[in-house]
C-alpha cells in the first residue's frame, strides 16, 4: 500500500492525541524524518524515535508506552481488542435500552440522561429492585395523574445521583471516544482503561477523595507545584538590570569616581510589592481536607508572598496563623485545628465569621491584601453573608473565592450563583485546579 508508513504514524498520533498528549504538526514531520533514518524492523528503535519526537513531558511517558504497545500489537491481539470493544459497546447499548424500558411512568419513559441510565444499570440488584418497586407503585396507585411524572423523575434522579457518588470507583462514566474510526476508538478505549498510577491521576482527583495512603504522594506533589511556581515568579521581585530605562541621577552619582565619565550605567527598576494574603478556610464537615491542601500550597509559596494570615471558620472565625508559623508538623497542626473546629457543630456561618474578621482583625484589612476564601459556599444566612462579603470587598484589594464544589455542580447551587455575582470565583476541586488558579496570576 502506498504511504503505508505515513498513514500508520498519523493514525498512531491520532491515538496519542486522544489520550491527551499534545502534538504539533511539526513534530509529526520530525517523527517521519526520524523513522526514515532507522531500521523499521527494530521495534525498540522505532519506539525510541517516536518517543523522542512526540512525547515531551515526563508524565506522558506511561501513556505513550501503553499506546505504543496497543497500537503496534500483533494483528491477532488487535483483532481481539476490537472485538472486545464492540462487545462492550453492545452491552452498554443493551443496558441503556433495558434501563429505558424499566424506568417508565405509566408507559412513558422517564426523562433521564444516558449517564443516569448507566448508573441505574450498575447499582446492586437488590437496591435496583427496590427502586423499580417504588416506581411501579407510584405509577400504578390510585389517583395517579400524568403530572406526577416530573415529581417521580426528580425522586429517581436524586436516588441515582446518590448511587453515582457511592459507586464512583466502579463506574465508568467517561464519554465513549468518538473518532469516527472504530479501530481507533477501540484503541483509545484500551489505552484509557489502564490506570496510570503516576502523579497525573492524583492531580485530577477530587481532593476530598484522595485516600490516606496517597497523602504523602499528594504532599510531595503540592511541594513540587509550589516550588515550580516560586521559581517562576520570584524573579519579578528581584532588582534587575534588564529594564532599559536609565536612572540618570544614580548613574551620575555612581560615576563621579571615574571623573564624570559614564563608565558604569545604572538602570531604573520598579519595586514590586509582594501581596499579603488573608486565607479564610471553611473547615466544617467535609471541607477539612480541601482546606488542608490549600493551606499547604499557600505555605509552600510563602517565599513570594509578603505575609500570610490564616483563619479557619465554620460557625465563627478563629485565627490560626501562629499554629502554622511555628513550623511544627503540618499534619499535626491541621488535625488539631480541625478537631477543635468540629466541636463547634456542623453549620457554616459565613456572615458571622466575616463580622468577626472585620471587628477583631480590622488592622490586617488593607488595600494591599487579598482575601482567599476556601469554601463550598454552603452557609447559613446567605443574604447577610452576601452583604458582609461586599462590605469586606471594599476594604481589601480583592476577594477570591476558591470553590471546592466541582464546577458542573455550580449551576444547581443557589448559594454559588448568588455569591458568584459578588466575588471572583474559581473551581478548586482538584489539585490541578488549585494549581491553575494560582498560576493565573490572579494573586501574584
Amino acid at each position: 500500500m502506498k504511504n503505508y508508513l505515513e498513514i500508520n504514524v498519523v493514525r498512531f498520533i491520532h491515538l496519542l492525541r486522544h489520550a491527551g498528549i499534545r502534538i504539533g504538526s511539526g513534530e509529526v514531520i520530525d517523527a517521519l524524518n526520524a523513522l526514515a533514518l532507522l531500521d523499521l524492523s527494530d521495534r525498540d528503535a522505532v519506539k525510541a524515535a517516536l518517543k523522542a519526537t512526540l512525547v515531551k513531558r515526563p508524565g506522558e511517558q506511561p501513556v505513550f508506552n501503553k499506546a505504543f504497545d496497543v497500537f503496534f500489537a500483533p494483528p491477532e491481539a488487535k483483532e481481539k481488542q476490537s472485538t472486545e470493544y464492540r462487545q462492550k459497546l453492545d452491552e452498554h447499548q443493551q443496558q441503556l435500552e433495558q434501563a429505558g424500558e424499566e424506568l417508565s411512568f405509566q408507559g412513558t419513559a422517564l426523562d433521564l440522561s444516558d449517564k443516569e441510565k448507566t448508573v441505574y444499570a450498575s447499582i446492586p440488584d437488590k437496591d435496583r429492585e427496590k427502586l423499580l418497586d417504588y416506581i411501579n407503585k407510584t405509577s400504578s396507585g390510585k389517583n395517579v395523574e400524568q403530572h406526577f411524572k416530573p415529581l417521580l423523575e426528580s425522586v429517581v434522579k436524586g436516588s441515582l445521583s446518590y448511587w453515582r457518588k457511592s459507586l464512583r470507583d466502579e463506574l465508568d462514566l467517561s464519554d465513549r471516544p468518538q473518532t469516527g474510526d472504530q479501530d481507533i476508538d477501540a484503541l483509545v478505549d484500551a489505552v484509557g482503561s489502564t490506570g496510570e498510577g503516576g502523579f497525573g491521576s492524583l492531580l485530577e482527583e477530587d481532593m476530598q477523595n484522595i485516600a490516606d495512603k496517597d497523602l504523602p504522594r499528594a504532599q510531595a506533589l503540592i511541594r513540587k507545584l509550589a516550588r515550580q511556581m516560586v521559581a517562576r515568579i520570584s524573579r519579578r521581585y528581584r532588582q534587575s538590570k534588564k529594564h532599559k530605562q536609565l536612572d540618570l541621577r544614580k548613574s551620575i552619582r555612581h560615576n563621579i569616581r571615574f571623573g564624570g565619565t559614564m563608565f558604569r550605567l545604572r538602570y531604573r527598576s520598579r519595586r514590586v510589592q509582594k501581596p499579603k494574603l488573608i486565607l479564610l478556610c471553611d473547615v466544617s464537615g467535609s471541607m477539612a481536607r480541601y482546606a488542608s491542601f490549600v493551606l499547604q500550597f499557600i505555605y509552600g509559596i510563602h517565599a513570594v508572598v509578603g505575609s500570610i494570615e490564616s483563619f479557619v471558620f465554620s460557625e465563627d472565625l478563629e485565627r490560626v496563623t501562629e499554629s502554622f508559623e511555628q513550623g511544627a508538623n503540618f499534619n499535626a497542626t491541621m488535625l488539631d485545628v480541625i478537631n477543635r473546629s468540629s466541636e463547634w457543630g456542623r453549620g457554616t456561618n459565613l456572615a458571622a465569621s466575616l463580622r468577626t474578621l472585620r471587628s477583631k482583625h480590622a488592622h490586617i484589612l488593607t488595600g494591599n491584601s487579598y482575601v482567599l476564601i476556601v469554601s463550598d459556599t454552603k452557609t447559613m444566612a446567605l443574604d447577610e453573608a452576601v452583604r458582609e462579603v461586599s462590605q469586606l470587598k471594599r476594604r481589601v484589594k480583592d476577594i477570591i473565592w476558591l470553590n471546592t464544589l466541582p464546577q458542573q455542580e455550580w449551576e444547581h447551587g443557589k448559594t454559588v450563583q448568588t455569591l458568584k455575582n459578588v466575588v471572583r470565583m474559581y473551581p478548586c476541586n482538584t489539585l490541578s485546579e488549585l494549581e491553575a488558579v494560582m498560576r493565573r496570576k490572579i494573586i501574584i
Binding site: R22, G24, G26, E27, D30, N33, A34, L37, L38, D44, A45, K47, A48, A49, K51, A52, T53, V55, K56, R57, P58, Q61, P216, R217, A220, R227, Q228, A231, R232, S234, R235, R238, S240, K241, K242, T261, M262, F263, L265
Partner: protein, 299 residues
Amino acid sequence: MKKLEATIANLRKTFTDLGYITDEEVLTTVYLSLKLEKPLLIEGAPGVGKTELAKVLSQVFDTDLIRLQCYEGLDENKALYEWNYQRQLLKIQISKETACVEDLEQDLFSEEYLLERPLLKAIQSEKKVVLLIDEVDKTDEEFEAFLFEVLSDFQVSVPELGTIKARQIPMVVLTSNNERELSDGLKRRCIYLYLDYPTVDREIEIIRARIPDIGDKLSLEIAKAVSLIRSDQDIKKKPSIAETLDWGRALVTMEKDRLTKNAVDQTLNLLLKTKSDIDAFKSNIGAVRLEEYVRTEKS
C-alpha cells in the same frame, strides 16, 4: 583525528570507550538529534548524567564544548553578545582630539568591541561545536522565547552589524531539572529525552567502568544499596550517579570488599548530604537493614 560518522553503532562504541554507559533508547535519541540537526532537550532528576552526556558528546566528536549556564535573570546580553562599553569609552577618550568623528563611529561598532557570549560564539565557530545550555528551566519565559528563536534559525541579528548566520549548525544540548515546565514552543523544536536513574544492572556497569579496581561483589552491593535509598520517599535529595561513584571510590580506598554496617556508617555522608536525609535514612532503612538487604536479595 578522523571525523567520526554518526551511526548508532559508532556512538555505542565511543560512549562505552569514554565510560558513559547508557542504553539503546538514549543512543537512538542522540543519534536522531544529530542526524535531524535538532536540539536535544534532556530532562530528568539532578545527577542522572544530563550534563555529562553533552560533555561526552563533545569528546566523541573531538570538538569544543561551549557552555551556557542558565540562571534566574540571564538575559540576551549575557547569552548572546554585548558591546564592550568600557573599551568604547576609553577609545573615545583617547582619540578625543585626533580622530575624525565618522571614522570613530564606524570603528566603535566593529567586531573588535563586540564581546562574544556563548550563543554567538557557538554560531560563529568554524568547527561544529557542542553547545550546552544547562538548566534551561532556571531562566524566565522571555529568555526561553528568545532562545527558541535562535535555535530554530541558527542566526542572530546584531542591529549594528547585521545578521550573523551560523557557519556550522552546532550540536545543541539543553538540560532541565523540570523545576518549571518549559514552553510548548521550545519543546516542539527539540528532540526530547527523559533520563531516569539507571537500573541496578546498568549502575553496576557504570561503577565497573569508572572504578576499575572495584570487586564484583562490592559493585553489586553498592548499586543495590543506592537503588534502595533512591526509592525512599522521605529522602529529598536522591544520591546522584556521581555520588555513587564517590562512595564506591571511598570504599575501595578503605579497602572494603563488601558493604558492611560499619562501612556504611562511616561513609554515609558521601551519599546523603543533608541532615534531614541522613535522619530519614536512619529511621526508614538504617545501616543494619541496608546490609541485610544487599546481602540476601538476589538481583
